[in-house]
């Protein structure tokens, strides 16, 4: 167990850029050496394809690839055949939406929330008519309006799309309780959870929620880009008509018909992202070796500190769109007198990376918060209090510079 949280030494980007203050972990996290090494080892020592080769390096690659499926299953406390490797959350969610397209009937409705990332909004919006698509309002503390949600569940509710943690507010939903209440009303309603922001903030165990599908991306949890996981209940995965077909996912192809392989391979067409899967496995091992509750406390503590410091520095001139009672590792804010892009641009000149814009959540910004853009801070295992102090100081400077002089 690692006892102290200055994990910068594990992340080689800090050797190349010692002054980097990386506060955009919600977009993508940095990568530790062990993940880079695992991918490098694959390329340099067993660079073969998976499942098809009858020679040693291919068998070695296949065994590594499948061992990641097993380790991911242990990490999520589920079964290996329920783990489908996907290029990321977006692909996983689209695999579900496309795979269910033929099951949607004209009377069906879908319920979502503006707290969702576009990846968990647009695929569902596209499945039904606008008057069958319900977007839950938000509570004063930027949570999901549970009453609205539950009163809209009936026998026609085909699917509910929820995030575990919002990528804008950082607020977490009470997934175990909310999903159970939905299923109590209509057990056939499918529930899809987006866990992209949750993997480093809590132990994600899909079987503890009453959900049917759950997706996440490796690159937000110290893994490589281009790899993620679609988890599903076996019955739910069986509902999915593969939306990409071709090699690897078939058992038999004749000139007149094709049969598909069993799960999980049925949903993994083509040569997969082998090095990505191996890198994801190394990231899961890396996380497994950390003291997770300490990691969570570290990050939540930093964001709570950042929240207070921003509030102290700017008082009524700042609006923080995060609930101090429900803090994870993300917060977004609007500061009077400086546009988020100008702030992010200024911070960048001091090697501070923050996100400015609508963070792939336009309905939330335009229709619920009523502003076009916010600045978002999100911390990682390597973030320190000094990073937050530096960010606060530079934000004060930027505001002095950009604020319109009062005449």
């Amino acid at each position: 167990m690692t006892s102290q949280f200055s994990l910068k030494k594990d992340f080689p980007i800090f050797v190349t850029r010692p002054d980097l203050v990386y506060l955009d972990n919600a977009a993508t996290s940095l990568t530790p050496s062990c993940v880079l090494k695992a991918m490098d080892d694959y390329y340099s020592s067993c660079r073969g394809t998976v499942t098809r080769g009858v020679y040693q390096i291919s068998e070695e690659a296949t065994s590594q690839y499948e061992s990641v499926r097993e380790r991911t299953a242990v990490f999520l406390n589920t079964k290996p055949e329920q783990i489908i490797f996907m290029p990321g959350t977006t692909h996983g969610l689209n695999m579900i939406a496309s795979g269910l397209r033929d099951d949607i009937k004209p009377h069906h409705t879908i319920i979502t929330t503006a707290l969702n990332h576009h990846a968990h909004f647009v695929p569902w919006q596209r499945l039904v008519d606008p008057d069958h698509f319900f977007v839950c309002p938000l509570t004063d503390t930027l949570g999901i309006d549970e009453d609205f949600l539950l009163t809209h569940i009936d026998e026609n509710t085909f699917l509910v799309a929820l995030p575990l943690i919002s990528n804008v507010t950082g607020g977490r939903i009470d997934a175990p309780s909310l999903t159970r209440k939905i299923k109590d009303i209509n057990p056939r309603t499918l529930i899809v959870l987006d866990a992209a922001q949750a993997m480093l903030n809590e132990s994600v165990t899909p079987e503890d929620y009453s959900c049917d599908f759950l997706c996440f991306s490796g690159h937000k949890m110290y893994g490589p880009t281009g790899i993620g996981v679609l988890w599903g209940k076996t019955e739910a995965l069986s509902l999915l008509e593969p939306f990409v077909v071709g090699g690897d996912m078939i058992t038999e192809v004749t000139t007149t018909h094709t049969t598909y392989r069993a799960l999980p391979h049925r949903l993994e067409p083509g040569t997969p992202n082998i090095s990505g899967v191996i890198g994801l496995g190394a990231a899961i091992d890396y996380i497994g070796n950390l003291d997770l509750s300490q990691l969570h406390n570290h990050k939540h503590g930093l964001i709570a500190y950042c929240f207070d410091e921003l509030q102290n520095a700017f008082g009524d001139d700042i609006t923080i769109f995060s609930d101090p009672g429900n803090i994870t590792s993300i917060l977004s804010f609007a500061l009077k007198g400086i546009h988020p892009h100008d702030l992010a641009g200024y911070l960048d000149t001091h090697n501070i990376c923050v996100r400015a814009g609508n963070h792939c959540a336009q309905p939330l910004h335009y229709e619920f918060l009523g502003i076009p853009a916010t600045t978002r801070i999100s911390v990682g295992a390597y973030t320190t209090r000094a990073d937050i102090d530096f960010f606060i100081n530079k934000t004060k400077e930027a505001r002095m510079l950009y604020q319109k002089p009062t005449v």
Binding site: H339, P340, H341, D342, G345, A356, G357, N358, Q362, H365, Y366, I371, P372, A373, L401, Y402, K404, P405
Partner: protein, 121 residues
């Protein structure tokens, strides 16, 4: 801070052409969805010549200052010349090196002006 940066801030803080014309002959509004900048241009064009222009909107310093500088440049010019302006002209006008994302903010005024010329009221 260099001279170009100071110039941008000056135009952002004290824009000369902010507002909207009472009787515009042409107008357009464009959005930059990545950062939420919105820009509305009103133009008064007589016999093809841009007589007056004004901008309004919400956005970062680059988008607002670029609009101000751009209007300063096009007043008195023939509307057909708006078609000729390119990204490079705007970059020169701003005088700063811009990342691809910030470039979109700077180019919003050009896009809006070009659209406005097709929008006779």
């Amino acid at each position: 801070m260099n001279v170009a940066q100071q110039n941008i801030l000056d135009h952002y803080h004290y824009p000369e052409y902010q507002g909207s014309l009472e009787k515009p002959s042409h107008t357009a509004t464009c959005k930059n969805t990545t950062c939420g900048d919105v820009l509305t241009l009103t133009l008064e064009i007589k016999s093809g010549i841009i007589q007056k222009a004004a901008f309004s909107g919400e956005g970062c310093a680059i988008s607002q200052a670029a609009a101000d500088l751009f209007i300063e440049m096009i007043i008195g010019k023939h509307m057909d010349s708006l078609k000729e302006y390119t990204k490079d002209d705007i970059v020169k006008l701003i005088g700063l090196e811009l990342s691809p994302n910030r470039l979109k903010c700077a180019l919003l005024c050009l896009e809006t002006a070009q659209r406005a010329t097709k929008s006779e009221i």
